[in-house]
Amino acid sequence: MIFFEIAKRNIRLNLLRSFLAAAGIVIGVVAISSMGMLGSSLTLSVTDSLSTVGDSVIIVPVVGQPGQNMVTTESLITGRQLQQIVRVVAPNEAVPIYAGADRIEIGPDKAVAALYGIRPDQIPLMVDIAEGIVPRSTSGALAGATLADEYDLKTGSRVKVGNETVRITGILEEQGMGFDINPDNALIVSERWYSTTYDQDNYDQVIVKVRDINDIDAVKLAVERTLNRRDDEVTVYDTRMILEMIVETFNQISVFTTAIGGISLVVAGVSIFNVQMMSVTERIKEIGIIRSIGTKRFEVMRMFLYEAFILGLIGSGIGGILSFAGGYIAISIMLQDTSYLFNPETLFYIPYGMGIGLLVTIVSGLYPAWKAANLNPIEALRFE
């Protein structure tokens, strides 16, 4: 079409200026896409590394609570409180947990490991066992995947914990980061062994495994009603809520970074606006000519919009290609792992950024095109 041809030729005539305006769009698209891709990969990687499915309610004592029931500097959940929890959450199972850390020795190697004391029959509720079995005797222990890997632990290995020795009865599957327990770098021992070895009767936390996800709020409420009736004795979390909070936080980071990209697109839009206004003002006479020989207003408008559209298409096209590279670099720097780049959710930000880039160009070109179309033909013709 002739209007497209004229638009194309005017861009070619003002190549440097057009190139600079399109470069603004390139930068804007790259910023918006690669930031979006980074945010999306970040969210994906965090949600992936969280092992916890949203099926647990975690009950921990209120820390540093002032009052007479503060026996030690550390508050714990008492047996009486546990009984109350067990009663109100039934038929869901409440898992009381001792948690601590101690020096360990494996042959000549010395290290510090986390320790969890859990009733053997409840251990399968909390972790998956890769090999071996749940400890049958008090001095048996399960080794976390990372720990086992690092010190070459196998079923039957002996580990000195503090002044005692435990025998490894099994190795755990790798679990990833959790909100309740983090067993990868830990030993899981029986609750009886823990309480006798460290002389501790009260629990560090109680975890309720909720069978029906829809009961989570009811379980939380029941525990809080029972234990926090007078004072705030415990804090109750549910993993679903924490998960949602984290995902929400990362989504906000994504929105924020995308907004930064958006600002650079606004700047690009202003430069397109400028170039188009220039194009209109230096061609007033030409507009007068084409109007006088029978070009309609909307045809003049189309001619100038094509010009903006071509700039936007070039800018967004180059921007889309560079976004892939930009996203790759940003993700490999921030996450050291580019596998999330090839996820549809992440790649979506490339066409998204390109689309926004194109939209910004066309919107920026709208007023100059409208102005060109509405020039008075006689005055435009007289213009020198």
Binding site: M1, I2, I6, R9, N10, L13, K285, E286, I289, I290, R291, S292, I293, G294, T295, K296, R297, E299, P377, I378, L381
Partner: protein, 238 residues
Amino acid sequence: MEEEVSAPVCNGEIPEDAVIRLEEATKVYSLPFGDVVALDSVCISVMPGEFIAIMGPSGSGKSTLLNLIGSLDVPTSGDLYIDGRDTRTLSDDELTELRRDRIGFIFQQFNLIPLLTVLENVEYPMILKSRQAVKGNSRARDLLLKVGLTEQMLAHKPKELSGGQQQRVAIARALINDPAILLCDEPTGNLDQATGRLIMDMLSEVNRRGKTVIMVTHDADVAAYASRTITIVDGKVA
């Protein structure tokens, strides 16, 4: 009697079958420091096939008159009929179509489109009218050869041609949609005498083939080509 109280428009001197009828047409430009009456209650009629020269001092309103006839503008008051159509009832798009289909413009400054080649300049109004590309259509090429351009000039940009050659291209462009009326605002004003004469011969030839030609000029020699001269002074027909 009633009829004697309100005098008939333009004393009833405007024939119904005129191709252009200006009936007490007035054009006022509103400027910050006051109104300028560029045309003052003008009565003019042009019959089909006439060749008219419009003369008058600078600033007298000749271009304003030509712009009205070219439907680039409408009168502030009074009526203007082109081809029997009342221009004051037409929308901007309809006026534009009138210019595109019924009127050819020739300017002193040639006013070709600098981004288009010579051939494309002539094709342009045709594309506007037919709304499609005219590749392979030979009408524009034929017209250009007829007004005296050579085949190898067709791919050039207007700026690469001489003034006389550019004006020939402008004539070809004005004729491409086979208009009824040709409007020329000082068509020889930027040309030397010899070239001007060639252009005037061309316009006469176009007129002989039946097109109405209306031409503004300062030059009495140029006006001599016309069959009738209208003189404008201070926005009025003298």
